[in-house]
């Protein structure tokens, strides 16, 4: 799926194609695995918050003031951070 293909889908409101691409990306080409991976990152986020440790709200405020492109990419970085933290790493690369 090229970016051109995804832009066409976005313009046509075909959100399922966009979501399928995300699932394939985070699932290393397997859509079912990608769905599980997306759930896994949310589960890990909740597990961490359940420890009720102090958080740096100032940092969050400063990050949220950034441009939306940076924040959207950060969202993907956080996904991979959380699945790495989960201890169940399905990707071929190890970093």
């Amino acid at each position: 799926m090229s970016v051109g293909y995804l832009k066409e889908a976005a313009a046509a409101g075909e959100t399922e194609k966009l979501l399928r691409f995300v699932r394939l990306h985070v699932g290393d080409g397997n859509e079912a695995v990608g769905t599980r991976e997306l759930e896994k990152s949310w589960i890990e986020a909740i597990r961490i918050l359940l420890r009720e440790e102090p958080v740096d709200r100032d940092l969050i405020d400063s990050v949220m003031a950034k441009d939306e492109a940076t924040l959207a990419l950060l969202y993907f970085h956080l996904h991979f951070y959380l699945v790495r933290r989960s201890g169940e790493w399905i990707h071929d690369g190890s970093q």
Binding site: M1, S2, Y5, D28, D92
Partner: protein, 183 residues
């Protein structure tokens, strides 16, 4: 599926003109159709044929540059972005006299356990250094080039990474021959 990829998949083989890529030795037969079936709307089109150039001088007199999609970089460099869903549109220069201990692999899309033990598996820098010492190669360019092969925007990739590496190879590194190493 885009119209371009439909044309490739749906074209009857009997009436299709011979594909110069498949008539030669650049890629195995059927690869284009396989990619377009598996990744509808993907990046492969029929107008991307790149003619090969003949050697201008013997390897023993030539200066070689290595260009790889392996994502290898100096440990001191910022890693390429493996999380971006469209890929990283940057590259890294790797000094050709670097030692394996100076290098690391930052990748998400291929297993590199073996390459972590021996970087030459995906980036044969020591083998090339040996070939120069043995006289099989005339020399190496000061820098090699590395980027991440995963990329979803081939047109932008060509305008940025490919263009910038090609320009550096020609104007800064003055290479006679390039070794392209996929990973």
């Amino acid at each position: 599926m885009t119209e371009a990829s439909k044309a490739v998949v749906d074209e009857p083989a009997a009436t299709a003109p011979p594909d110069p890529r498949e008539a030669g030795t650049q890629l195995r037969a059927g690869l284009w159709q396989t990619i377009n079936e598996r990744y509808p709307g993907s990046m492969v089109t029929r107008d991307t044929y790149v003619p090969l150039a003949r050697h201008a001088k013997p390897l023993a007199e030539a200066r070689l540059v290595m260009i790889s999609s392996c994502g290898v970089h100096l440990t001191s460099d910022r890693p390429l972005d493996v999380c971006h869903p469209f890929g990283d549109f940057g590259f890294r220069r790797v000094p050709s006299d670097a030692a394996p201990a100076d290098l690391t692999i930052h990748q998400l899309k291929y297993p590199h356990d073996d390459a972590d033990r021996d970087i030459n598996v995906v980036f044969p820098i020591e083998r090339l250094q040996e070939m120069v010492r043995e006289g099989a190669l005339g020399g190496l360019t000061p820098n090699f080039f590395s980027f991440i092969g995963y990329n979803m925007d081939p047109k932008r990739f060509e305008r940025t990474v490919v263009h910038d590496i090609a320009e550096a190879v020609a104007t800064e590194e003055h290479a006679d021959v390039a070794l392209l190493v996929p990973a």
